[in-house]
Amino acid sequence: MTNDVETNTAQTSPDKDKAGEYALGLLEGAERDAFEAQLQSDPSLALEVARWQEHFAALGMDVEEVAPPVSVLKILKRELWGENQMPWHRRIRVWEYAIGGMAAALVAYAVFSSDAFYEAEVRVLQASISSSEIDLQVAFASNVGTGLLRIEQAGVAPAQGRVFELWAIAEGAAPVSLGVLPQGRVTALRLDETQSALVRVGVTFALSDEPTGGSPTGAPTGPVLGVGALQVLTNL
């Protein structure tokens, strides 16, 4: 609740006119630094840059295609995944890498068996939770089905002797614990069948603050930090 007054001065910032130049790569030195500083705090400016980039990409579409040498893909695959194929359940490491740059978010993915993993009809669900009380943002994503729940978290950690517990709440049903969030930015929870069945559209995820080891009663006892409904991320 800091800058209500400032947000009322909704006139176009002078920086907005520079978004096109920035997207073209024409801003230099101090001018560019100032613009980038502004970008960090102004989502509408960032959107303006993204729009210019979208437009300018049309110029790229007109460029003639040239097939790259085969060595490019070979080197890429080696750099991304090493020489050897990893078993599917160890790819969690790869995911960690893939999502490593995602800040201010907590992401959970449930993994299927490798067969289902490559099936065309896999659906990914996501939910996001951000706390209005403390600095904690949560974004979940999960394959529909049994497996591992991948978690990436940012924001504050639980207090000494406390943990964050994740709950799945089906409509009209009592919350079911999906487990205590492990410590660390990128972690994972393994779900049993009952828990996995709750990863579906219409179910709400909630985080509560609980004593170490999780709720002693099987229901949330501490304050609820936030809730978020599971939605289809995309039709894979």
Binding site: D17, E21, A57, G60, P68, A98, L236
Partner: protein, 182 residues
């Protein structure tokens, strides 16, 4: 070229670590992106390296695609072009905007569904709007985007003073914006 839906599907699968989706995407898009890299860098070895870095970023940032506000080919082309531009500027020992940290910018911008819908329809419009500019001005915009030219280089190419080029560009961008939002 594949449909945007197919490309988005691959990107979504890549976000879950699907290597087959990555290779499919690479097969379908690498010739276009290599063309862009070559156009910017005009050097095969550098363009190959830039292409590798491009797909490296694509793999690493696939999970962010949903919130970046760009249509899939535009997203890929933007990464390829900015990666090539980074390399070009590194060669020239300069540090100028349009670089890879734009990726972070997208992640923070969080456009809604409406913005995404607008974005996907914008692709063709630019070409039309560029024809409404003076030829020399449109050429400067192409030179900046496709050849990674700086203001100084654009001014030298057009044989006009630097400040004239800046004025051209800024006025052109305002005109373009009017046309694009018409």
């Amino acid at each position: 070229m594949r449909t945007p839906e197919q490309i988005e599907k691959w990107i979504a699968q890549m976000a879950l670590g699907d290597r087959i989706a990555f290779e499919s995407l690479y097969d379908a898009t690498s010739a276009k992106l290599f063309g862009v890299s070559l156009r910017v860098l005009k050097n095969t070895a550098l363009a190959e390296e830039a292409l590798q870095n491009t797909y490296f970023k694509v793999w690493r940032n696939a999970s962010r695609y949903q919130v970046n506000g760009l249509s899939p080919m535009s997203w890929l082309i933007t990464i390829a072009r900015n990666t090539a531009l980074d390399s070009l500027r590194t060669q020239k020992n300069l540090e100028i905007s349009g670089g890879s940290d734009l990726m972070d910018t997208f992640a923070d911008s969080k456009p809604g569904p409406e913005d995404l819908a607008i974005a996907s329809s914008q692709n063709e419009v630019l070409r039309v709007c560029l024809t409404e500019l003076d030829d020399a001005h449109a050429r400067a915009i192409r030179g900046a985007y496709l050849d990674g030219k700086t203001y100084a280089e654009l001014a030298s190419d057009a044989k006009v003073p630097l400040n004239t080029m800046r004025t051209w560009l800024r006025r052109s961008l305002i005109k373009l914006r009017e046309c694009l939002t018409r």
